[in-house]
């Protein structure tokens, strides 16, 4: 009975003839989505920054200069067996020496002192990376046994321990604060959108009652408002993502300075576009359609 053509006709007529109200509703939706994406981006950047710092942390084991290569190799195999360990790099005595010489090339005094020794004073170095900073303690404790006491001359982890604790603390707090802000913001957005749509429907209350009085069924009246909500959602999502990508285009060069490993928010958004697009579309659609239906319920009782 109620043709699709009439549904679209009434919907587009409503949007065009109530342009200022339609514009304001879409504008509020875009503002809400931009705020959500800003919060989302801040969360991503925080996590990425923490990851960058975590990546720079490792444990270096400095072996004695006369360490038996076979014993060192055994330790390497032992360390690799830990599920928390993601990478173990072993640098031989010679590599350590070459690296030292390269870094002190401009300091001739240091190099001549090294020459005077006549032999390579460095032992092999093992660089260990774990999944999480707190895993280092477990690895170090496992190596802190009398059997290896004569082999390991020094380890660098002790210097990082307090820094790691602080970092973990900050990460947890930022994450907690982020979720708190996100929840608060989602609630405020919900109230704003819900009331914007309620006001929009309220301004149509006379019209809705007239439609009822001339014999329009509830769905004949609801249809255009629901389609309007869907159209507003699509427009706001598309405009929002357009603006987000435009903002990222200008923001990414600055991020490249902070994140030298090539991380960009544009890449993040592109690789997560389906999730971001889907989640936000679904949330806004639910919000607008449910708000419309709830606001109309009272007006349809004529």
């Amino acid at each position: 009975m109620f043709s699709i053509f009439r549904l679209f006709k009434f919907t587009f007529q409503d949007i065009a003839r109530n342009f200022s109200l339609s514009f304001m509703t879409v504008f509020i939706l875009i503002l809400m989505l931009l705020s959500v994406n800003t919060l989302w981006s801040v969360d991503i950047l925080t996590k990425e920054a923490v990851q960058v710092v975590k990546d720079q942390i490792n444990v270096s084991l400095y072996f004695v200069s006369d360490a038996n290569p076979k014993d060192v190799e055994n330790i390497r195999k032992y360390v690799q067996m830990f599920p928390e360990v993601v990478d173990v790099t072993l640098r031989s005595k010679e590599e350590v020496l070459n690296s030292f010489e390269a870094s002190y090339q401009i300091n001739k005094d240091v190099l001549s002192a090294l020459d005077e020794l006549g032999n390579n004073p460095f032992g092999p170095t093992m660089i260990i990376k774990t999944k999480e900073p707190q895993d280092y303690k477990k690895v170090i404790d496992a190596l802190n046994v009398p059997e290896y006491a004569g082999l390991i001359e020094a380890r660098s982890f002790d210097n990082h321990e307090s820094a790691l604790d602080r970092l973990q603390n900050i990460t947890n707090r930022v994450e907690g604060l982020g979720w708190g802000l996100a929840a608060l913001f989602a609630f405020i957005s919900f109230l704003i959108i819900f009331n914007t749509i309620r006001v929009a429907i309220y301004t149509h209350r006379t019209e809705i009652s007239i439609k009822r009085l001339v014999g329009a069924s509830s769905w004949f009246i609801r249809g255009p408002y629901i389609l309007e909500s869907i159209i507003f959602t699509i427009i706001s999502i598309v405009v929002n993502f357009g603006l987000v990508f435009l903002a990222l285009y200008y923001l990414d060069p600055y991020l490249a300075v902070v994140f030298p490993d090539g991380f960009t928010l544009t890449n993040y958004y592109k690789s997560h576009i389906l999730l971001l697009f889907g989640l936000q579309t679904l949330a806004v659609l639910l919000l607008t359609v449910v708000s419309s239906l709830m606001a109309m319920r009272k007006q349809l009782k004529v």
């Binding site: 019209e207 009085l213 001339v214 069924s217």
Partner: protein, 226 residues
């Protein structure tokens, strides 16, 4: 056509709007319902279009008992009754043509038929030259004529007009009454709720007088006697 058997309407605060109404209106009649404000005239209209339900009694339109009509059936009832209000109740964002066509569109009428019928009805009410105007661009009399066109467009068997001339001057009042008479001549039952003594006396048709929520007079060729 319209039958009321012992109909009462009592609101939740014990206000009695209608008390034990018994009424029988035949097809093709032109009936004026008169009475002072607050005597239940508008409540009676609201019962006939199922905007309100009777507290007691039975209301029949044709063979249809609408006393306890379901909300899904209400649109079908309203498509069979043309309603004209004192405040016109036009859709402000729709043109004259669209306001009139809307009554057919809600009933799922074919577009081709709408394009044929609407201009004909607008011709009858004398608005064929103003089809693209919005309500705010029309005079009160013209707006009421649009409302009549909308009520008439799906060829209802009953037209209910609740104080249709209440907001109009004497010239427009006469025009509206003439249109209603013309509609009645086509065989449509007309129920006219009015305060206007001159109209009632001039019509010389059936007059139902209401007082204190009851029917106190029912004359075949009556006059305004309040």
């Amino acid at each position: 056509m319209i039958k009321l058997h012992g109909v009462s309407k009592i609101y939740s605060n014990d206000t009695v709007a209608l008390r034990d109404l018994n009424l029988h209106i035949d097809a093709g009649e032109f009936v004026s319902i008169v009475g002072q404000s607050g005597t239940g005239k508008t409540t009676l209209i609201k019962l006939l279009i199922a905007e309100e339900r009777p507290t007691r009694g039975k209301i029949e339109i044709g063979d249809w008992d609408i006393s306890n009509i379901g909300s899904r059936e209400i649109p079908f009832l309203r498509r069979q009754i043309g309603i004209v209000f004192q405040d016109f109740k036009l859709l402000p964002k729709k043109t004259v043509y669209e306001n009139t066509a809307f009554a057919l569109e809600v009933a799922g009428e074919e577009t081709r038929r709408i394009h044929t019928v609407v201009p004909q009805v607008l011709e009858i009410v004398g608005l064929h030259g103003k089809v693209n105007r919005y309500p705010y661009q029309l005079s009160g009399g013209e707006q009421q004529r649009v409302a009549i066109a909308r009520a008439l467009v799906h060829r209802p068997k009953i037209i209910v007009a609740d104080e249709p001339t209440g907001n109009l001057d004497s010239i427009n009042t006469e025009e509206i009454v003439n249109i209603l008479k013309k509609i009645n001549e086509f065989g449509t039952t007309v129920l006219l709720v009015t305060h206007n003594r001159e109209i009632v006396n001039h019509l010389r048709r059936r007059v139902i007088t209401m007082q204190n929520s009851e029917i106190v007079g029912d004359e075949i060729e009556g006059k305004y006697r309040l």
